[in-house]
Amino acid sequence: MNGQEEDLLSEITGSDYKYGFTTNIEQEFAPIGLDESTIHFISQKKNEPEWMLQWRLNAFAKWKKMQEPEWANVQYPRVDYQSISYYAAPKKKDKLQSLDEVDPTLIDTFNKLGIPLEEQKILAGVAVDAVIDSVSIKTTFKEKLAEAGVIFCAISEAIREHPELIKKYLGMVVPANDNFFASLNSAVFSDGSFVYVPKNTRCPMELSTYFRINAQNTGQFERTLIIADEGAYVSYLEGCTAPMRDENQLHAAVVELVALKDAEIKYSTVQNWYPGDKNGKGGIYNFVTKRGICKGANSKISWTQVETGSAITWKYPSVLLTGDNSIGEFYSVAVTNHHQQADTGTKMIHVGRNTKSRIVSKGISAGKSQNSYRGLVKVMNRADGARNYSQCDSLLIGDACGAHTFPYLEIDNQTANIEHEASTSKIGEDILFYCNQRGIDNEEATAMIVNGFSREVLDMLPMEFAVEAKKLLAISLEGSVG
């Protein structure tokens, strides 16, 4: 990169992350550090029943015996789990009945993020749950959803009001001892969303949750559980942002999806946590466990993710294909710029007969970033007729970044049909010259090429969000070509 490009880069990167503001609001925190008393504190704050507290303590006991994983292709100084606060909440009245009771500063925060919480202003047909730090602020369209029998609420509320569903499904897909970060989450999770769609019901609107980290020195540990009962359908979208801060912040979420017979869950993520500055200072450590189970026959789970933020991403949305003829899909665009590191991919575990999975991964690396795809396709011995198709494409911008693919295959059934394709390309001088010659500058050309490269995945997003995601891709890569 020559001097001129360097100048341009620094000029532009100052304005990169437009969600980097903080909200000044009175907060209450859990004391810094983590021991059993922290868990008692959180459980008490949430008014949880005794069985939930025991569930957390059990997870905590397991976590204490576990080691932080080191196999991912990412480098970062160890996190000091005793130096963060595990609970932060805007101070508020005990129970919110209407939006009027939500602190106006918070409503303002979500407005700035482009997420109005007043129902009449919300994107038509999208219900929103807004979570800031450790608590859910407001869930919209609750009544309308209730008419259809759909439950969409904060998970803390579900624990109190739908204990039979929580007891049955929480930890079914991601058990409390699943992995280091999932166990930590199980012990200290504070809020998140809960969805239950009853039998033969098509959820009447898109559901979405916006997560926002605001407080300093806190981790965010949200927990999401979505259950689609027999013959149900739901489409869910998750978005996230965080302020710009010099220190790294931990985000360790768990998402569990359960699709029963003939049910379908479509889960989309637009992840835009603060990625750190252009020198790699600050940013979110995004260590997330997302997994779904296609429990019943003919069920389907589809993950779509657009990952542009976070200093480090460690994330493998997976599907356990237990039901016969069930389908798992993973569509991913992961962008890394500057010093970001992403190690992301999926696991497709074929257990039932005639199960199908499809993986489309598009990795885009710029700056000095490292972008890895890591995927496992496992076919168990009774999964006759299992099929998988995987496609992993990498696009490099500049020559200081890296793209890596780690595909793993474990096939225990001779009838399995597995296809894998991979490609690596660069945004070359030729293509830029061609665009420039038509009047398009480098910035716009890059955005266009990247969007074109990611089109298969972007096409899977609900329409309203595809537009957002395209803009986000362009913003994340600003200044990556001189």
Partner: protein, 251 residues
């Protein structure tokens, strides 16, 4: 419109253009012929502003401005269009979206309002019809999987969309069947007017039967060695290039 004076350019230390002189006035069509490797595409690239070339001594003035001072996209927006000898593929970007970005960038530069979607649609349909481009190509990714001839036709389509002042066509005729050649020529002739000019690079005088040039230049070893009228193309086709050795000053 365009004045090239004693232009030198080299790539990786090798001098390719060794003192080019050329003047193009509005309304004119100039053809450049010359053997492989003589520097025709290099000249086109240098005019378009490609970075790989180091421009040495010499000057190029375009519409009264120093062309060599402008960046690539500004040259385009100011009316210079290059129809590529080897058009590039852009996977996942539809021809329509690509053209929308190009046209918007041009209009913005010229201080014009962006076209409304229906105006744009009307324009794109008209121009596609002008070059007989099947509308299905509008939805396909730019040049991806296009045949050689289809890519060339797409270049002329883009040219029609951007309506340049100075269009440089680098071997647009190679790879075209005779019908396609006529279509391309028809497109160019429809765009011709007293305010714009064409610089047509070709190996075959056949194209020049349809796009009749005012001048034919021979580029040989980085220099313009001969200039004549359209009959020079015929002569070259008969005799080849061996008889031309000594440089002479071009018009």
């Amino acid at each position: 419109m365009l004045q090239i004076q004693n232009l030198h350019a080299s790539v990786q230390g090798n001098e390719i253009l060794k003192g080019i002189n050329l003047e193009i006035k509005p309304g004119e069509v100039h053809a450049i012929m010359g053997p492989n490797g003589s520097g025709k595409s290099t000249l086109a690239s240098v005019l378009a502003g490609r970075n790989d070339y180091e421009v040495g001594t010499g000057s190029v003035r375009y519409m009264g401005k120093d062309l060599l001072d402008m960046d690539i996209e500004t040259r385009s927006r100011e009316g210079i269009f290059l129809a590529f000898q080897y058009p590039v593929e852009i996977p996942g970007v539809s021809n329509t979206n690509f053209m929308k970005a190009c046209v918007s960038a041009h209009r913005k530069h010229l201080g014009l309002e962006a076209l409304k979607p229906n105006e744009f649609l009307k324009m794109i349909r008209e121009k596609a019809a002008l070059v007989d481009l099947d509308p299905k190509f509008l939805h396909r990714s730019v040049n991806e999987g296009f045949s050689g001839g289809e890519k060339k036709r797409n270049e002329i389509f883009q040219m029609a969309m951007l309506n340049p002042k100075l269009a440089i066509m680098d071997e647009t005729d190679s790879g075209l069947d005779i019908d396609a050649l006529k279509v391309v020529a028809r497109g160019v002739n429809a765009l011709r007017n007293s305010d714009n000019a064409f610089l047509v690079i070709t190996h075959y005088q056949r194209l020049l039967e349809y796009i009749v040039p005012d001048y034919v230049h021979v580029l040989y070893n980085g220099r313009m060695v001969k200039t004549g009228g359209k009959e020079l193309a015929l002569e070259l086709e008969e005799k080849g290039y061996d008889w031309i050795k000594e440089p002479q000053t071009a018009v």
